[in-house]
């Protein structure tokens, strides 16, 4: 084909710098390994410090007692635990419904021309700074009706919905196209296919998405800052009032600066972080097991 014949002798002439090239390569591989080791070390240091500083603060009275009545006083975090659970539950319900519906719309029903703007909006919502969710709900709800658990849950749901939608989208796309075709070939109508073939096929992915989103929402502070920050120090279950919650309680405890408050903040931070990390690990295991079981 080409007139140039390779000169074998030329290619085989040792350039003499092979040792140097290998050394450069090894050095750079070493850098990459140490970067990875550094990241793992950072994680262990952060978690380690939180465990060491936080575990001492834990006690039955800390977990169940009322919040400190005045800054710097002793107290517990019981009401904040209850409030965070309630907020995460409400926001979880809203975001799972909206997120799964949006993902179903994008994969099963929308034409490409409609899907692409919706996908764009979903991306923008996912990239929305969380503090802006708080600002938005403050202007929309709080400035008219005052702070409430419902307002806070909506703000949290704004952060969580795109997470649920994206993860659901991914697991819906992993459901083999052949399953849908098989259902159509058997004469199953579209909605039945979606509800009885596609959704169950993505069930473990959707469950994981929901769990991870709730874990993320439970730790968010910024959306709650203007929507659920003026709470009393006792248990509040009524979502029409501001609900005490762990992230903001940590935030205010640190701001006070009293040693006792800071040690309470560590206790609450340990509890929050441990829960979120364990839930994360659990959800990953669940996902892997669920997908392996169905051979995906």
């Amino acid at each position: 084909m080409s007139a140039i014949t390779p000169d074998p002798a030329h290619a085989l002439t040792p350039s003499g710098n092979l040792a140097r090239r290998l050394r450069v390569s090894l050095a750079i591989q070493g850098l990459a390994v140490s970067a990875a080791a550094l990241a793992a070390a950072i994680l262990f240091i952060l978690v380690g410090f939180t465990v060491v500083k936080g575990i001492g603060a834990l006690s039955w009275s800390f977990l169940t007692g009322n919040l400190p009545a005045a800054t710097g006083q002793a107290g517990g975090i019981g009401p904040a635990l209850v409030g965070t659970a309630e907020l995460a539950l409400m926001a979880g319900i809203i975001s799972v419904i909206l997120g799964v519906l949006t993902a179903l719309f994008l994969t099963e029903f929308a034409s490409p021309r409609v899907a692409s703007p919706v996908r764009l909006m979903l991306d923008l919502l996912a990239g929305l700074p969380t503090i802006l969710a708080g600002v938005f709900i403050y202007g929309l709800v709080v400035s008219r009706f005052g702070q409430s658990g419902i307002a806070a849950a909506i703000a949290l749901a704004m952060v969580m919905t795109p997470l649920v939608a994206r993860a659901t989208l991914e697991s819906l796309q992993r459901v083999p196209e052949t399953w849908r075709d098989a259902a159509s070939a058997l004469g199953v109508s579209h909605w039945r296919t979606v509800l009885t073939v596609v959704l169950p096929g993505a069930a473990s992915g959707i469950t994981t998405a929901a769990i991870l989103a709730v874990a993320r929402g439970a730790g968010e502070t910024a959306p709650l800052l203007f929507t659920s920050s003026l709470y009393g120090n006792g248990v509040q279950l009524n979502p029409m009032h501001a609900l005490p919650n762990i992230p903001l309680e940590i935030y205010t405890l640190i701001e006070t600066g009293y040693p006792q408050s800071v040690s309470m903040a560590w206790g609450a931070a340990f509890l929050l972080m441990a829960t979120i990390l364990l839930v994360n690990i659990g959800a990953r295991i669940l996902l892997r097991r669920g997908e392996r079981k169905r051979g995906l």
Binding site: S25, L98, V118, L124, Y138, V194
Partner: protein
């Protein structure tokens, strides 16, 4: 076996026909209902995003009328004199995010390379999720760790080193005693952005066809030459997209930054002095602004943040799509 003995199927009776017609009607209605339901979800997402933009613009209208489009480039922020400008906040946001991005890109891309190309599967399967765990740490906990652990570490260990080596650039002045500084905020942001960049780049590096990599190695390239010559050029747009997303995340972070940045609306090149950011200004002042104009000014800052967020997001989509076309 009995089924084999039954007579051949009879033509459908009238009752059968009505039953099937009813089923078809039910199917049709259920189909429409489900489609309508999913439309509701999709429309909710679009409407919420549009409403956020509308509401923030509306809140900012007073400040927009008064200060005009150059609001973001005036540095005075004196609410009592009705003189408001967003430059000190914008400056703090940009500088902390950029410094964090430099650190996080260097670390994150290396980690991505390690996880995708260098590490044995078993190691990558353990280390990858561990790095992603960093993203699961709530920002308020990062802030607490930032104040109590990273601030002193930064003030007493890192800052003297940077001052000694890079002090001549003017970016790294004499280390102050207090750790609240733009630099500490950058370190906290680095930790928060790192998992995003490393897991995105890892996934991108894994898409490089193995034939290309094997080809390079078969020609005698070392690992690094293979990465430098094959992997990085084919994935450069994906890496850029990942970095842009990381930058957007850093710009929008409010809580952890507020806790460590010191909240002084100053503009200076020295990273070791306290500063402030757009997000932390909103977090600090939004609920109790001194007057209506200040509230509107804060909405204006929120608008700046929103615009930057949307632009960076569009940019990263654009870059990634461009790269996908080339590949």
């Amino acid at each position: 076996m009995s089924s084999l003995l039954t007579s051949p199927p009879l033509p459908p009776t009238a009752r059968d026909r009505t039953r099937r017609a009813r089923l078809r009607r039910v199917d049709l209605r259920a189909n429409r209902f489900l489609i309508a339901l999913t439309w509701v979800g999709a429309i909710a997402v679009v409407v919420v995003m549009a409403a956020v933009a509308f509401q923030i613009i509306q809140g900012a209208s007073q400040a927009i009328n008064r200060f005009g489009p150059l609001f973001a480039f005036h540095s005075t922020w004196v609410p009592s004199l009705n003189k408001l400008g967003g430059l000190s906040f914008l400056f703090g946001s940009l500088i902390t995010s950029l410094v964090a991005l430099v650190f996080a890109t260097a670390l994150g891309v290396s980690i991505g390379l390690f996880l995708a190309l260098l590490a044995p599967r078993a190691v990558a399967n353990v280390l990858g999720p561990l790095v992603e765990m960093l993203a699961a740490i709530p920002s308020v906990v990062m802030g607490l760790i930032g104040i109590i652990i990273i601030s002193p570490f930064s003030a007493h260990t890192l800052e003297p080193v940077f001052h000694a080596v890079l002090g001549w650039t003017g970016l790294f002045g004499a280390p102050p005693q207090n750790g609240s500084s733009l630099f500490t905020a950058s370190l906290v942001l680095t930790i928060m952005v790192l998992p995003i960049i490393s897991s995105l780049t890892r996934d991108i590096f894994r898409t490089v066809p193995i034939e290309l990599r094997d080809g390079a190695e078969a020609l005698g390239a070392t690992r690094w030459e293979m990465i430098r010559g094959i992997v990085l050029p084919t994935t450069v747009s994906g890496i850029t997209g990942a970095c842009v997303l990381g930058f957007a995340r850093a710009m929008g972070e409010a809580i952890a930054v507020t806790q460590v940045v010191g909240n002084a609306s100053l503009i200076h090149a020295n990273l070791f002095l306290p500063g402030t950011t757009i997000a932390s200004a909103i977090a600090n002042q939004f609920e109790s602004p001194q007057n209506n104009l200040t509230l509107s000014g804060l909405y204006y800052l929120a608008l700046v943040l929103l615009v930057i967020g949307v632009l960076t997001n569009l940019l990263s989509r654009r870059v990634v799509a461009h790269g996908a076309r080339l590949a």
